[in-house]
Subunit: 390 residues, 2 copies
Amino acid sequence: MKLFEDAEFAARVARAKTKMEEIGVDVLLVASPANQFWLTGYDGWSFYTPQMVVVAADLEQPLWVGRAMDAVGAKFTVFMSHEHIIPYGDEYVASDERHPMEFLVEILKSRGWGARRIGVEMDDYYYTARWHAILTAGLPDATFIDAFLAVNRARMKKSDREIDYLMQAGEIAGRAMQATFDAARPGVRQCDAVAELYRVTTAGTPEHGGTFTCKPPNAMVGEYCSAPHLSWTDAPLKENEMFYVELGGCRHRYHAPLSRCLWLGKPPQAMLDLAEIIAEGLNAVLDTVKPGVVLEELAAAWTSVISRHGIEKDSRIGYPVGIGYPPTWGELTCSMRKGDRTVMEPNMTFHCIPALWMEDYGLVVSESFAVTETGARTFADFPRKLFHLG
Amino acid sequence: MKLFEDAEFAARVARAKTKMEEIGVDVLLVASPANQFWLTGYDGWSFYTPQMVVVAADLEQPLWVGRAMDAVGAKFTVFMSHEHIIPYGDEYVASDERHPMEFLVEILKSRGWGARRIGVEMDDYYYTARWHAILTAGLPDATFIDAFLAVNRARMKKSDREIDYLMQAGEIAGRAMQATFDAARPGVRQCDAVAELYRVTTAGTPEHGGTFTCKPPNAMVGEYCSAPHLSWTDAPLKENEMFYVELGGCRHRYHAPLSRCLWLGKPPQAMLDLAEIIAEGLNAVLDTVKPGVVLEELAAAWTSVISRHGIEKDSRIGYPVGIGYPPTWGELTCSMRKGDRTVMEPNMTFHCIPALWMEDYGLVVSESFAVTETGARTFADFPRKLFHLG
């Protein structure tokens, strides 16, 4: 099955080229695996060796440049005709003497792009300082322009097909959360409860199988819940502990994150009250969503609710979400927080995660959603509350 | 439970400082999450926002510099006294106006390191071109030295405790492979078989619970087996298809990879023969392992076996393995291939993965192992053959 029609890829490349024109770039070097996937369809866990997608204003389709053994996977997955797949030999891999960016320099020169305005993703995870040093040294006549986030911005508005995948991912996320909470009981090892989470995110639904997510769940228990990005252990769950879960469902690299907490017992009233405040704040955010609203208005909706209850929180409460490759499913382009004037448009997609980190525990209720003409459409359908056993 | 004694961390820092002296570095900026974990114990999925570990010749313990919300997780996991944890505020996260590296510049200046010889991991996945640009601009009196792989090299020889974790990871890997192959039958969806893989790698063994691996399994079926880094789908498995699995068991970030293939039926004789050649070649490699042997001798042992059978393969057949953060569990320091003169020492650890990619399918039998005085000690205990149903 093709994930997307060729016409959709062509439209994406056209959007990237529009961005390139806006920022004065003739040739765009795309290091981000998520952007590579979006532009070409290429999907393989091969980005631990250097690979690059090249979009040139004067070339209709992008080039994929990568390791020879991965050119096979490129042939299976890219929309371009196969002369756009340009492999380098294994002698470039993990070598002290040769670097794949030297190979890329020669490709760019041979195409007559050696003196052009070249856009690079300066702060992308996969665009290292050395890559940049080799490219700038090898192309002394080129002008390098920072194009970080240019493609990320181009992919913020999803197609209907992309939204379909995110809805499927959301259904998987909800099932996985349910299975995790069903398995979590005092005496069960934390890892055994999370094993259920992984079983279900991987199996998916009967209609839509699951796949790997680009990051593990943030699944913490007890005192670790006060730290947002730690992990489970193999200790048994204990009565009256908090089990904090931020997970993602995934379809074809499209991620729908979902977060909930389970209290392993009968929760103190103060904790139930706090969970209700978070849910109220999240609902206020979702009610504010519509095209034309700017992101700081969402943050204000949240702040207005929690400050009425005497709570302050200064970190951002959300970010745009979609295609995920490690280390994140965030699109990195903007944040739900004061000062962010990004305007919401239909089919933009976000994860709103208003967690509160207390001294001894953390509490969260999150939703990911698409912006529609009539408001927020959440990907999952799961109760917004603190779960508990008692 | 503490993963390692403070004395072990102190010894690691001392080894890093020795490397620093060798390459003429006063202050080492460590961007690699794997190196950060090895040096400090810090373990959190927080490296999607910039964080850095700083090792200075004139400071006993390293500094951890990261996002304020992750300083909590740092307190739980690092061996250093807590004044070595230096948080930056959320206003630095995903901001157009401020960058965490600007914060780091001020830290380095305030410590009197602004004119020192500063080592940076130029080609590390997490050391971006922009980080480097900000640091070099902000510290014009410093001398920047490429220290890529310096810490990776320092961590090649494992402690006995590290080997223990790798042996536990190997046991998990073997169990996961068995569970995957038990579940894989014609008519079962690929994703449902891989769901068993994930269930077992996450649950682990009764004694040692599992955790997430830094990369998904390379689990491909049918024609996708001819591409090394693609992924499973939700199509049902069919009779007489190849199911290729490279997976990892993981304990405390230490990964033991293991690869096998399952033929969903009675395999053609030629395929069985090829699997036997691979197993013979792998055995020849393992028999060659001992302290003092150089890596290209392992490659030669492999080549000697397959060339006797008229087969050529030019890509490397293995790499050092250990701590894994995305995108790889490889240590990146060397390769089992012609020309690599890295000398094996006791407690170095490797993954030997002599896969053969044919036109229509791929075949693999791999082992990860430690070098001991008496030879290779594999982490898993799993038959070296092509599995099949018929």
